[in-house]
Each structure stands twice: as C-alpha cells, then as structure tokens.
C-alpha cells in the first residue's frame, strides 16, 4: 500500500499521552506538588532533573503564599485603601506567578522540549496538576 502521508506529517511529532502530577496536600492547602517521578517519563528524562523542576516549582509557590511581614503589610495596605490599590499594583502572588511562568517556559525550552515533553503551567489547570505532555515521533515507513 502506498504511503500517502505528507512530508509535514512525517516530520511533525505526535502527542500520544499526558501525565498528571497531582497536588500534595500533606502540609495543608498550600500549593505543592508530588515530587514522585512518574514511570511514564522514565525513558525520557532524568529522575533527578524532574524532581528538581517540581521542587523548584513548589518552592516558588511557597514563596508566593508565604505568610510574613511583607504579605501582612500588603494585606493591611490593601484594606486601608479599600482594595483599590490592586488597581494599580500587582499583588506579590501575581508577581511570583509570572516568575513561575518564565521558569516553566525556560525549562521547556532547555530541558523538556528537546526530549519531546511539554510542561503545562499549573495555573492553567487551576493549580490542580502539573500536566506533562509526552510527544512521540511518528516513525517513517511504519505502515509497510
């Protein structure tokens, strides 16, 4: 049977599955993800590399949600100004979320995309999961 795939089809990687890293609620309701290495990623990436990524994400979220002098000050200032201050100022949380987005993009470009993986920013999934898409290269001449 003649191959009828276009050249583009042959070259483009095809997504085949997704892996979801769930939230770790062991410390309460703070945003934290399990660092356990999913078995589906074993052939693709280093366990340590993956755990480092997740741990960094956890640390960034902890920074965003940290209770301390700075966050209390921000909260009190907001209350005094009847929360109008947020019309002109970004909250600390939002600043850290941007940092997280940059980090994920960076990780994708440097580490995950070359291995045919894609990390999705958890904020796009309501901070429920870290979604990792596994792309599989469509092998040429597999139908013959």
């Amino acid at each position: 049977m003649a191959e009828t795939h276009s050249l583009q089809d042959l070259q483009q990687p095809t997504a085949s599955s997704k892996v979801f890293v769930q939230r770790d609620y062991g410390s309460g309701t703070i945003s934290k993800f399990h660092t356990k290495f999913p078995s589906e990623l074993e052939p693709r990436i280093d366990k340590q590399q993956f755990e480092e990524t997740i741990q960094t994400l956890n640390n960034l979220y902890a920074e965003a949600e940290k209770l301390g002098g700075k966050s209390y000050l921000e909260g009190c200032l907001a209350c005094i100004t009847a929360y109008t201050i947020f019309l002109c100022m970004e909250t600390h949380y939002e600043k850290v979320l941007k940092k997280i987005a940059r980090y994920i993009k960076d990780q994708n470009e440097k580490i995950y995309a070359p291995r045919g993986l894609l990390l999705t920013d958890p904020i796009e999934r309501g901070l429920r999961v870290v979604e990792i898409t596994i792309f599989e290269e469509r092998s040429i001449g597999s139908g013959r």
């Binding site: 483009q12 990687p13 095809t14 997504a15 085949s16 599955s17 997704k18 979801f20 939230r23 609620y25 062991g26 410390s27 309460g28 309701t29 965003a64 949600e65 940290k66 209770l67 966050s71 209390y72 921000e74 909260g75 009190c76 907001a78 209350c79 009847a82 929360y83 947020f86 909250t91 600390h92 949380y93 939002e94 979320l97 993009k105 894609l118 999705t120 920013d121 904020i123 796009e124 999934r125 309501g126 901070l127 429920r128 999961v129 979604e131 898409t133 792309f135």
Partner: protein, 466 residues
C-alpha cells in the same frame, strides 16, 4: 483501556454536523477571539467583559443594598440635621464613611470570584478515572468516591466531584447554586448574592463588621435624636410624630443588629480558629470526634496567626482566568454524550478516540506554543443536566446559618432569564448579560475532533458563529 468500549461516546446526530464544521474551520480563523468567560460552564454571569462575576441567581442582593441605602438615606435626611445642630458635625461624617465602606465591601464580596476551581479537562478526568479502581458495569452507580490523605497527621477525606470531574482539594466544596467548586468554601450567602470562599472571605468579614458598626451607630444616633427631642419639653409620642423616619430606622436597625452582630461574632470565632462555616456546621473537627485538643489540621494554633492568615494573607489569584483568550485553533471540547444518558462516573474513554482527540489538541497546542506561547485548551462545557447528578456532591454545600444566611433549597430551578442588557451599546465595557444557556444555539465547530459532541442540548453554550 481497550476493553472500555461499552459506552456510546459519539452522538450519531452530531456526526452530520461534522462536514460543515470542517468547512467552518477555515472561516473561523478570521473571526474574533473569544474570552474564556464566554464559555464558562458554571452558573455565573459576567459583566464588563469578564471583569465582574456574579452567580446567575443574585439572591437578595438588591434587597440588602436597598435596605442599607434606604436606612442611611433616611438617617442623613431626617436625623443628621437635628444632630448636627445639637451635637457635632462629625456624626454625618462618620456615618458617611461607614456607609461607603459597607457598600464597597458588599460590592466587592458580591462581584469577586470566591475561589472557583476550574473544572477538570477531559484528559485529567480520564486520568483520574484510570487511577480509580472501578469494576462496576454501566448500570450500577458506585458510592461516591473518596480518597483519604494525611494532612498534618490528621486523616482527611477528599471527595470526588461528579460535576467538576476531580477530587476536591481539602476545604473545597461544590456549591449547587453556582454549580462550581469553591476553594475554602464557607457558605453561599443570599444576602450578598455570592458564595463566600477563599478569595472574598476577607471582604465578607469586613462587610459584616462594618455593617455591625453602621447599624449600631445609626441605632445609637436615632435613640439620641429622639431622646433629645423629647427633652425639649415634648412627650415621646410627639417627638416620634415629628420624626417618623426615625421609627423606620429604629425598626430596621433593631432587627438587623441582632443578626449582624451575632454573625460578626460567629465569624470572628471562625477566623480565630481557622474554620469555615461549612466545617463548623458539619462538625468536622469538633473535639468530640478527635482525641486531640485541636483537631483542625489547618489551624496555626495561634489566634493571631489564624486571623492574620485569613484576613491579611496573600491574595490568591482567580483560577478561572475569565479574561484570557481562547485560542482560535481550539474548539470547545463538548462534553461526552454519555454524561447525559449514563451516570457520570462511567466516562471511560475509548482508547482510540481519546488518543485521537488528545493528539489533535496537542498538535494545535504545540503549534500555538511555538507561535504564541502556551495557549491552554478551552474549559470543557458541561450540560445543565449535570445538575441532577451533582446532588450528592452538592449536599455538603448547603450549610445554613440561622443568624444571617437563609438556607437555600438545593433543587432550585435554573436561573430565570437574565436582564436584557442591550448588546447594541457601543461602549467597550458595556454590560453583557452572559448566560450561555440563552445564546443562539448553533453547534460549535469541532474541527477535527470526532468525539464528545452533544447534539440534543442546543442551549448548552456552543459558541455561535457571529
């Protein structure tokens, strides 16, 4: 996975739509981007292009506002002139400041996203399904799923939400009125016309505290007013006759004070112990159940820390990203047809179909990622019929507080038609009454997606092609 082919996942009636949808694909690329609030599956209305969010049923919010405005209006009109003359000019100043603060807090509570959790994407839902061991046939509905986890050495049960297709995080509850899972769900307050949850609890608290002050202040001032009048040689009855508005204010304030002060006290207690109304009413962490002194795993065991954490803690962002744009390449992944005909727990994807749709979606995602940066797929849209099966999940979301918040019947009918805001308003920020249920019912082009198309629920929020 291949063994789970028993469920009809493609609606045959929808297949006839597909050839047209394929044609419409190319046309769609030149149409305007849609914002995510336009396809939001919960029962909410959005205004100002997604900046303001309200549940579809506003409860008695107009009444609350009306009572506050009328009472204060009467106070400023009838009592203040006398009191300014006899006492001090600061009385209307303080009254005015309190009034502004109360109204502002009320509006902020009503119009803020309480902490709605977006529903699980189909892939997530399928993944969760895979992880749960179910051996039942299609005719048997298993008991509600729970998952036990350990939080600070305390066992906590996470329940599965059939509507949102995910295990609810701790302290999250599904509100049947809003049809959303809300984080740190406290209660659905009809007076405020919104759920009270993680993101707007501080506004709600400042509303009830400031309202307590306002009602007490007005009550005190009115009493002073009538007393001063009757001291000028007139009888009490005569004084009242001269200022009948004061009696109206007295009556309103008298009845409000009991409930509002009680509510304020109750919520102060909840904040100090880091509890929600939901947990308190269900007795989740009551000492009778737990051997330890403080069974609450979320408490910081310090009143000040608990208060600061709840009221002054970092303001979490809205997770539903109302104003984000849907990628033009993404169709709305319509809900599986099996969800209407069969119990919702039976969403078991046919392996090939799932792979096909995932593959298509991700190809587009990769393309979008390369060009635009990450564009998330659209939030899945669920049918209003899901309400019927979210009963068990919703049962936990109806705590009633006799002091201030009236219990809501979980089986209230779907929202009445939205007020007819004109679409011809030329201003960019014109009010849009957006209840997807009432939009034009042209089926959404599903591009190359071959699965999960609803054919028989035309009011299910398909994107109409302008």
């Amino acid at each position: 996975m291949m063994k789970n082919c028993e469920y009809q996942q493609i609606d045959p009636r929808a297949l006839s739509v597909l050839p047209q949808s394929a044609q419409n694909t190319t046309e769609k690329t030149v149409q305007r981007s849609r914002r995510k609030w336009e396809v939001f599956p919960g029962k909410n209305r959005f205004f100002c292009d997604g900046r303001i969010i309200l549940p579809s049923q506003s409860g008695v919010l107009p009444l609350t506002l009306g009572l506050i405005v009328v009472t204060c209006g009467l106070f400023f009109a009838f009592d203040c002139p006398f009191l300014v003359k006899h006492l001090t000019v600061f009385i209307p100043v303080i009254g005015g400041a309190l009034f502004v603060f109360v109204v502002f807090s009320l509006l902020r509570t009503s119009f803020t996203d309480p902490g709605i959790l977006p529903r699980a994407t189909p892939d997530e839902a399928a993944d969760i399904e895979k992880q749960i061991d179910t051996s039942g046939s299609s005719t048997y509905r298993p008991p509600p799923r729970t998952k036990e986890i350990l939080i600070n050495q305390q066992v906590v049960k996470l329940k599965y939400c059939f509507t949102c297709k995910m295990f609810r995080p701790p302290r999250t509850s599904h509100c049947s009125l809003c049809d959303n899972c809300v984080e740190r769900f406290d209660h659905h307050c009809p007076w405020v016309g919104n759920c009270v949850g993680k993101r707007n609890y501080r506004f709600f608290y400042s509303f009830i505290i400031s309202l307590s002050f306002l009602t007490s202040f007005i009550f005190g001032c009115v009493i002073t007013h009538i007393t001063l009048r009757s001291q000028e040689g007139k009888s009490l009855v005569q004084s009242i006759q001269e200022s009948p508005a004061s009696v109206v204010e007295l009556v309103i304030c008298f009845f409000s004070i009991w409930s509002i002060l009680g509510l304020s006290g109750f919520h102060t207690y909840l904040i100090a112990s880091n509890l929600t109304t939901n947990e308190d009413i269900k007795g989740s962490w009551s000492s009778k159940r737990c051997a330890e002194e403080s069974g609450n795993p979320y408490s910081y065991n310090s009143i000040i820390t608990n208060c600061c954490a709840t009221l002054c803690g970092p303001m979490p962002p809205s997770l539903i990203d109302r104003r984000g744009f849907l990628s033009l390449d993404e169709a709305i992944p319509a809900v599986s047809a099996s969800e209407i005909e069969l119990p919702p727990f039976t969403v078991k994807s046919d392996a090939h179909m799932c792979t096909q749709s995932t593959k298509d979606m991700l190809e587009r995602m990769v393309h979008s990622y390369d060009v635009h940066g990450l564009c998330p797929p659209a939030t899945p849209k669920t049918t209003p019929l899901d309400l019927e099966v979210s009963g068990p999940a919703a049962a936990s979301s109806e705590p009633s507080l006799s002091a201030g918040c009236l219990p809501q019947d979980a089986r209230q009918p779907v929202a009445p038609p939205c007020p007819p805001f004109s679409r011809s308003n030329k201003r960019r920020d014109s009010l849009h009454s957006i209840n997807p249920a009432f939009r034009l019912a042209s089926p959404s082009p599903s591009l190359s997606r071959t699965t999960f198309i609803l054919g028989d629920a035309p009011d299910n929020g398909f994107i109409p092609l302008p």
